[in-house]
């Protein structure tokens, strides 16, 4: 089972935690685009991090909540989750 987090997983979390609909392909194709541009506010990202941590049963660690872009977030999360 591949444990790495995908843009699709992130889009699903953004929908369930904050009600924000995003196209995973668009997130993937726009590395510089921020969560804010996709309609996710800081509380929303907090919710995404908590949901992810609750699901994995392990903390993603400091900094996850302050990631500005989906690309930055996935890189950090996958790095931590692989460790």
């Amino acid at each position: 089972m591949n444990d790495s987090l995908t843009f699709g997983d992130l889009a699903t979390l953004m929908k369930s935690c904050a009600g924000v609909s995003v196209d995973p392909a668009e997130m993937e194709s726009r590395p510089a685009a921020t969560f804010e541009e996709f309609g996710l506010d800081s509380l929303g990202l907090l919710g995404v991090v908590a949901a992810l941590e609750n699901r994995r049963g392990a903390p993603i660690g400091p900094g996850a909540e302050s990631c500005r872009t989906p690309h930055e977030f996935l890189a950090l999360a996958n790095d931590r989750l692989a460790a």
Partner: protein
Amino acid sequence: MSSERRAVVTGIGVVAPNGIGADAFWKATREGVCVLDRVSREGCEELPLRVAGEVRGFDPQEAVESRFTVQTDRFTHFAMAAADLALADARLETGGGSPFDVGVVTAAGSGGGEFGQRELQQLWGKGPRFVGPYQSIAWFYAASTGQISIRGGFKGPCGVLTNDEAGGLDALAHARRGIRRGARAVVVGSAEAPLAPYSAVCQLGYEELSRSGDPARAYLPFTGDACGFAPAEGGAMLVLEEEGAARGRGAAVRAVVAGHAATFTGTDGWQRSREGLAHAARAALAEAGCAPEEVDVVFADALGVPEADRAEALALADVLGPRASRVPVTAPKTGTGRAYCGGPVLDTAAAVLAMESGVVPPTPNVVDVAHDLDLVTRTARPAELRTALVLARGLMGCNAALVLRRGSGTDRP
């Protein structure tokens, strides 16, 4: 006085147990339809609160974007939907001009109980890490003002009043103040959602709450059978505009918010509210430059508690004199229940619509009036209505009165 910036009603948005949208609400109100029913909300089955006015035809998914259904409570869904309806009704173009021209004021007494309950269940069921971050803002009394402001880009004078049910009228006065100080328009009102089990339980401490299980008898103010009030969810938002700006864009001036006053008489017996209501009504009339003889209709608070009903009837006698027994008084809320802060705003909406239609809506279910009042019962009564007095009281001792003058907009059929 002529140089004063007057606040006028140009739009009405309603989400009420008896109708969504001003037209549906007014049709049901004028016909005296009673929609009080047994509480059907899951989790409320065993509660001694058995009859209430539920908003059943409301689909939040349809009314607001999905992020708001996840991030905000039902009371905010109601308020946002009502604000949309009011803005559409006013045909107010909010895109042009300065964002600081338009403000938002709401009143709230119940807050986001449904959302809060869900998160509290997460807290004790799974632990603190399972409480969602939107709990920090969704339950909060100011949530509706904030979300309407952000969504519409309204950066003018914004506020929230949490001073009891009468706050619904005080919100209108607060909005009017914003207009006097320079705002072009304020989206103002209140909508409540107090029927989640958690919110319902919070109300069980109120001895004024009706415990009746019979929808036709649960809320009978001004009668010998008065046994408390039935609560309701929902409310209304209005667009209040500066008169010159409204006329300048060709908007129909539906009514003038001519006078308001508020008093506080505490919780030590409902008889004290006589003086509080009378003082508020007199001060509101004085501010409106309106003689008591000019009052054509009274929308009563009508709590449904014998002592409180008596106090209100006596307050009306104090203010209106011998005419008190001849001025039509109505309490359409007996058909829907009291929506806490949303209730007085619904009464205000009904008063505007009544003046436009030239009819006083009836007081559903109420037949034998036990006070010296001309309470309009059974069917609507045609009347030339130029001035309406709206009264409101809160369970914690706030009293308020609002005087509305008929506008020069088009009449309703």
